[in-house]
Symmetry: C2
Subunit: 248 residues, 2 copies
DNA sequence: CGCTACCTTGAACATGTTCAAAATTTGTGG
DNA sequence: CCACAAATTTTGAACATGTTCAAGGTAGCG
């Protein structure tokens, strides 16, 4: 319970790491000031639940740092992850007061929150916010549909390769490295979380990761540290046509 | 090839059957007039392709009557349907010029089209359109995520029951009948299309429909005409918690 | 060092797929 | 209206992929 009180930290929007990708990306400085007035930060430790599905949610938020997941659960306990929230991603839905999914911090997480009422009012008066939110929502819809193809039609091996390729790409885009050449990253998810994302069991995830390693598609150092010697090879294993455009 | 030239038909927005659900739902009459000036109708016969994934698409559109599907295809031919477009649903993405999915008419189809350029300009000047489009996109995202749970975690029987429940509900909502009591409708999809939607093979779809019939969950007259004697029973079979809110 | 989480591996099993054939429905032309 | 061809659907049997249940291994952290 070492609760570092990050919730007190407050930063200028101008210095914010997600300033140019989040829902505020298009805002002018006066609009940003207005947002600044209604925003507050919240921090969560790895493993903590941000909200439970069905709970009242009186804020919307952007992920600033860390990773969160959206999951759905059936009565008998079957779980399906329906979203992986990375820095700049948006949580919550204007015009709805109950959370539709469980939101969980998988790493330590900082979110930039806006009380819903003022945010909704601002949406009406600030087209730059509504425009950006529409754009982000359309991107998420594309990502969800790409994921439907994965869940409905890909083999276990292809599913794992697809997930690794997505994480590798995202990491490459954050680090601004060349997309060719070898890539290195740490898995932000446990085997079980990967299984929940891919519609598999954790045993199958483990077996397929071992198989990809055995076949030289990936290298592992420990359980989490992954090296991709050849991204094209990984993409082939994922079954995507070479130039598929996941996420942003 | 009996091509009834519906493409010439032109109607007043005020009389349009989707006036209050489509992207134009929130528009005032002056805004509607502006839309009316840039709109045109197109008709497609059952089975026709509206656009191919990757093709240039210089319009966006609303489905007026009929049903269309969005599908993704892998190089080796595996197909996954990622959307079922019903009257009032929106096709195309402002700010993108290539289609991301194959769009196919599964029944005779009439679409209300807007050339992309003028539509995008109107989005900037007409908040009512952008607002409505955001709302619709958020609904579609919820539907896509509900479908991810189905694809990732439901059994074949649950998948079929879920699909039937969705179609039954939609039909009930169009006909304004009480959601209890027995429901009757025609399947708008072939077994193969159902399979593409559910991430199954057509044989499995056929077998599970036979099983649901054998168990008295549904009744069939011919291949397409379905009677649901007890919607609650069907919902149980679908594995949804009783009050789940699919689609709109 | 030893506990606890997490991960890997094995073997039996189950669900859904594949391939094949037969049945049914639909559309077409006589 | 009927007969035939084409398309769609159903059913069967062998098979494959991923799951389940069980045991053992590994890493991180007190």
């Amino acid at each position: 319970m070492a609760h570092h009180d990050l919730s007190v930290v407050h930063q200028q929007c101008g210095d914010c790491p997600i300033r140019h990708r989040a829902v505020c990306a298009r805002c002018e400085s006066d609009e940003l000031q207005h947002l600044e007035a209604i925003k507050f930060y919240r921090s969560y430790q790895a493993g903590q639940t941000v909200v439970w599905s069905g709970d009242r949610m009186d804020f919307v938020a952007s992920v600033v740092t860390g990773i969160a997941t959206l999951t759905q659960t059936m009565e008998d306990g079957r779980r399906q992850m329906v979203g992986l929230l990375l820095p700049s991603d948006f949580v919550g839905r204007p015009g709805r007061d109950k959370a539709a999914y469980d939101v969980t911090a998988t790493t330590d997480l900082v979110m930039c929150c806006f009380r819903k009422k003022p945010f909704e009012e601002m949406m009406g008066t600030t087209p730059h916010i509504a425009q950006r939110l529409l754009e982000m929502t359309l991107d998420e819809l594309d990502a969800a549909r790409e994921w439907m193809l994965l869940l409905g039609r890909k083999t276990a091996r292809e599913k794992i390769a697809s997930l690794l390729a997505i994480i590798a790409r995202r990491d490459a885009s954050l680090k601004l490295k060349t997309p060719k050449g070898s890539l290195v990253f740490d898995l932000p998810l446990t085997r079980e979380e990967m299984a929940d994302y891919l519609g598999l069991t954790l045993e199958t995830v483990s077996r397929q990761i071992s198989a990809l390693k055995r076949d030289g598609v990936i290298e592992l150092q420990g359980k989490r540290h992954v090296i991709i010697p050849n991204l094209d090879r990984l993409m082939e294993e994922a079954g995507d046509d070479s130039d598929g455009g996941y996420l942003a």
